[in-house]
């Protein structure tokens, strides 16, 4: 089924895709704002503002949003990450109008009641404290922070504790007034509906909303890295973890697809399902080198498509009785191998077939499709999504060699070691 793209007079982008396999429709609104828009002092504000959109408006008082979606048999959530803030509801197809009314309302009418802001501060601090319980979160925060000295990708979306303690109601309100408006948003519907009717209803609900003035953009590109950065982190536990982060191209860069193939060969296929565990990677090179040999209990990689150049992250859990140095030496040897020997065509073809399978799996669920349509428009455009498999299929062995030489040298990476302190 074709994807339709429209732009309303007030600047709202609308993406529609009919999918009639189940009597279910998903509706998403994506805002072009994430923690990339935050400067020191207000880190975490995008995520906090997202929480406030669940705290009520005059039409949907606090608690009413959850209640109405649930009693109509729906699921809902909101997410904030580096490049975006997004909200969705998935409902039985004949109830989706509720979602349109809700999202049109909270795009401009959320209350941001000061008492609710105060209560949410401790909820978000609790969310951060829960994350801090995980050594891999702590290590990731250090490694990404060291990899980005200048770009706001430097800080995690949850925000720094000092800012979570001091961000004011006024700052949150300003964030909402600045970034939440039709001209800074993308509405996505996928499911069991008639596209012209859906477009008409979206125009009715969202058309009357006025555009905001164009928000300022934080433009602090990360300068090239000219040498390996290394760090250690000590913390509770008896398990050591390694993370190596290589600067990587943005989603829209032509190098992105060859690097995606490379990541698939090294650490396994990327999952396309937001709500499922990542696909297994037991035939990947680093699994064979690290896990089959008993050096690591697990290894994983991620190359996320991003608006600005981000990272190819490789993470390993050191097996009991083995050392971080052993794991890192073996990782280095595998990177050297891929830098010096062209990959066999067979591995390239496997990576392409795996991506095709992941695409097929992800299309079972309209919610997943809504996610990928919106995500793609945030970090690139719809063409990027529609041509995804074609662009992967066009990658050659030479492309892979070229991007390996460009992105995988040590001078382009940050390596972090988590040193467990027993306790």
């Amino acid at each position: 089924m074709q994807i339709e793209q429209h732009t309303l007079d007030n600047g709202l982008t609308v993406l529609l895709k009919e999918s009639r396999h189940a009597p279910v429709t998903t509706f998403w609104v994506w805002y072009r704002v994430g923690s990339r828009n935050e400067l020191p002092g207000i880190t975490g504000i995008a995520h906090w503002a997202e929480h406030m959109l669940f705290k009520g408006s005059e039409e949907f008082p606090k608690g009413e949003i959850d209640r109405q979606i649930a009693r109509n048999g729906g699921g809902m959530n909101g997410f904030t990450w580096l490049d975006f803030t997004t909200f969705f509801e998935t409902l039985p197809a004949d109830r989706i109008d509720l979602s349109l009314r809700l999202e049109a309302d909270r795009m401009v009418n959320a209350l941001f009641d000061p008492e609710e802001v105060a209560l949410e501060r401790t909820v978000i601090i609790s969310e951060r404290q829960g994350a801090e319980n995980q050594p891999t979160f702590l290590l990731g925060e250090e490694v990404v922070g060291a990899a980005f000295r200048v770009h706001p990708y430097h800080h995690d979306t949850i925000g720094d504790m000092c800012d979570l303690e001091t961000i004011t109601h006024q700052q949150l309100w300003h964030h909402y007034q600045t970034y939440y408006g039709p001209d800074n948003a993308i509405a996505v519907a996928v499911g069991d509906f008639n596209a012209p009717q859906m477009l008409g209803r979206i125009e009715e609900m969202f058309g009357p909303l006025t555009a905001r003035s164009a928000p300022s953009v934080v433009n602090r590109p990360e300068p090239p890295q000219h040498g390996e950065r290394r760090l250690t982190l000590e913390g509770p536990g008896n398990t050591a973890y390694l993370q190596a982060a290589y600067h990587a191209p943005a989603a829209s860069d032509s190098d992105f697809f060859p690097l995606l193939i490379l990541s698939s060969i090294l650490t396994g296929a990327s999952g396309m399902n937001l709500f499922a565990a990542p696909p297994p990677n037991r035939s990947s090179r680093l699994y064979k080198a690290l896990v089959e040999t008993g050096l690591a209990a697990s290894v994983s990689g991620s190359l996320s498509p991003m608006l600005d150049p981000y990272l190819y992250n490789v993470s390993a859990t050191v097996r009991a009785g083995r050392t971080l140095d052993e794991v890192e030496e073996t990782l280095n040897a595998e990177i050297e191998r891929i830098l010096h020997q062209p990959i066999p065509a067979k591995e390239l073809n496997t990576a392409i077939k795996q991506a095709k399978a992941q695409f097929a799996y992800s299309s079972e669920s309209v919610t997943n499709q809504g996610f990928w349509l919106g995500y793609s428009s945030i970090v690139a455009d719809i063409d990027w999504f529609e041509s995804f498999l074609d662009r992967l299929t066009a990658v050659t062995v030479e492309d892979v060699t070229r991007v390996a030489e460009l992105y995988l040298p040590r001078r382009n990476r940050t390596v972090g070691h988590y040193l467990p302190q027993g306790l």
Partner: protein, 421 residues
């Protein structure tokens, strides 16, 4: 086009002569297929001093067969983007996999090979043991896992539900390759095994393919264990702290013995649980502990009704200084559910949620497969989805209060807290 619900008319079921039950359902939403199923080879059948044996055994099935190495199996599956895995459980060992529909033969072939011809190579057993031990060592520092482990032991002492399916460092360390092979010989059998296949393939073709792949499997030496462990009773408050130093958050698990999936009270209890800690953003518990007090990012309840009476529990993650307030908040909501008459709208909301959300649960092949497996496992009947709304709507306001009073005693519960202290 709106497809009808899976029912007796559209679900194909076949009893193979070796005792294996096959369920098939065609869904053309995407060019893929999902398989799922179980065998009666869970941790119930292992002695306490060998805790972790059944889970370890399940993890070894794909790590070498008479004709394929672990690496060959991985290459074969992943070269076509397919996946398959086995996992341990209390009553059963389970498996799940998916593939493009064109690769279903390969997926079934590897499933059948892993089930019928595993060789338990010693070197692979050592590799897997290392991974399990690393996970068990990590668990000691994971507040969520430690709270649950402690809760289970507290509520179910000397009972299979109180033991860790993954086992413990001291038990997993002693298991040998022969223990695994012997456990396999004694418990893996097509007798009572269930396999569901859902996806872009006609049910007739699926049944043929499964018959070819698994129809000849015989395991006369094995005896599948379908026993149900006894119900436990809790007459006092049991509280235990699992210290996990250096952490910024404590995890709380508070609960009671619940009921089995086949208990006539099941749907009443499910609705009571939905009201308590599921509906909307985590029900009344979320409203109290998260929304009104701002104490927790997550707080919810779940009813784990399975073959036997599993626990009915509440879970929260809070700052270590807020543990007592969170526990008080949870108990306050339990008191309300027992003592205050339930506003009819609260029940109607949760009924509407359970019936209305059915299409969402059936959207993916995985969702359909797990529904089919529940129908078979708990004898719900293939008309279950057609009857579901009536079952939900038959529950009354008084039923909810009865359930809370029968199961959720605010003076006699098990409480485990894992965190600093």
């Amino acid at each position: 086009m709106t497809p009808s619900l899976p029912s007796a008319e559209t679900i194909a079921r076949l009893d193979l002569s070796n005792g294996l039950v096959v369920l098939a359902y065609e869904n053309d939403a995407s060019p893929s297929v999902v398989i799922g199923g179980y065998l009666w080879a869970g941790s119930l059948s292992e002695p306490p001093e060998q805790a972790g044996l059944s889970s370890f055994t399940a993890g070894m099935l794909m790590r070498g067969t008479e004709t394929r190495s672990f690496r060959q199996i991985n290459e074969a599956l992943e070269s076509v983007g397919a996946q398959l895995s086995f996992h341990g459980g209390v009553h059963t060992a389970g498996f799940g996999g998916k593939a493009l529909a064109e690769d279903l033969d390969l997926l079934l072939d590897i499933l059948a090979d892993s089930l019928q011809h595993p060789t338990f190579p010693t070197d692979e057993a050592e590799t897997l043991r290392g991974q399990i031990l690393t996970a068990l060592q990590r668990r000691v520092y994971d507040t969520g896992q430690m709270a649950r482990l402690t809760f289970d032991a507290l509520l179910y002492p000397d009972h299979p539900y109180g033991r860790s399916v993954q086992g413990y460092e001291k038990t997993v360390s002693t298991l040998t390759r022969d223990h695994l092979a012997d456990y396999y010989q004694a418990h893996y059998s097509p007798q009572g095994m269930v396999l569901a296949v859902v996806g872009a393939m006609s049910a007739g073709m699926v049944l043929d393919k499964v018959q070819r792949a698994l129809g000849n499997w015989q395991a006369p030496a094995a005896s599948p264990n379908r026993s149900i462990p006894p119900r436990v009773h809790l007459h006092e408050l049991r509280r235990r702290l699992a210290p996990v130093q250096g952490k910024t958050q404590s995890d709380i698990v508070l609960g009671w013995p619940g009921l089995a999936r086949n208990d006539p009270d099941y749907m009443k209890a499910r609705l009571a649980n939905t009201i308590l800690g599921v509906f909307g953003m985590m029900g009344r518990l979320g409203d109290n502990v998260r929304d009104q007090q701002g104490l927790a990012y997550y707080v919810y309840s779940q009813l784990e009704a399975g073959m036997g009476a599993g626990p009915w529990l509440a879970i929260a993650g809070v700052n270590p200084a807020s543990v007592d307030r969170a526990v008080d908040g949870i108990l306050h909501e339990v008191h309300r559910l027992r003592d205050e008459s339930l506003p009819p709208d609260d029940l109607a909301d949760s009924q509407s949620f359970l019936t209305g959300s059915m299409p969402l649960r059936l959207e993916t092949n995985e969702g359909i497969a797990s529904t089919l497996l529940d129908m078979e496992r708990y004898n719900l009947g293939f008309d279950y989805l057609l009857r579901f709304a009536d079952l939900v709507n038959a529950v009354t306001v008084d039923d909810i209060q009865d359930m809370a009073r029968a199961y959720l005693n605010p003076d006699a519960y098990a409480l485990a807290i894992a965190g600093p202290g």
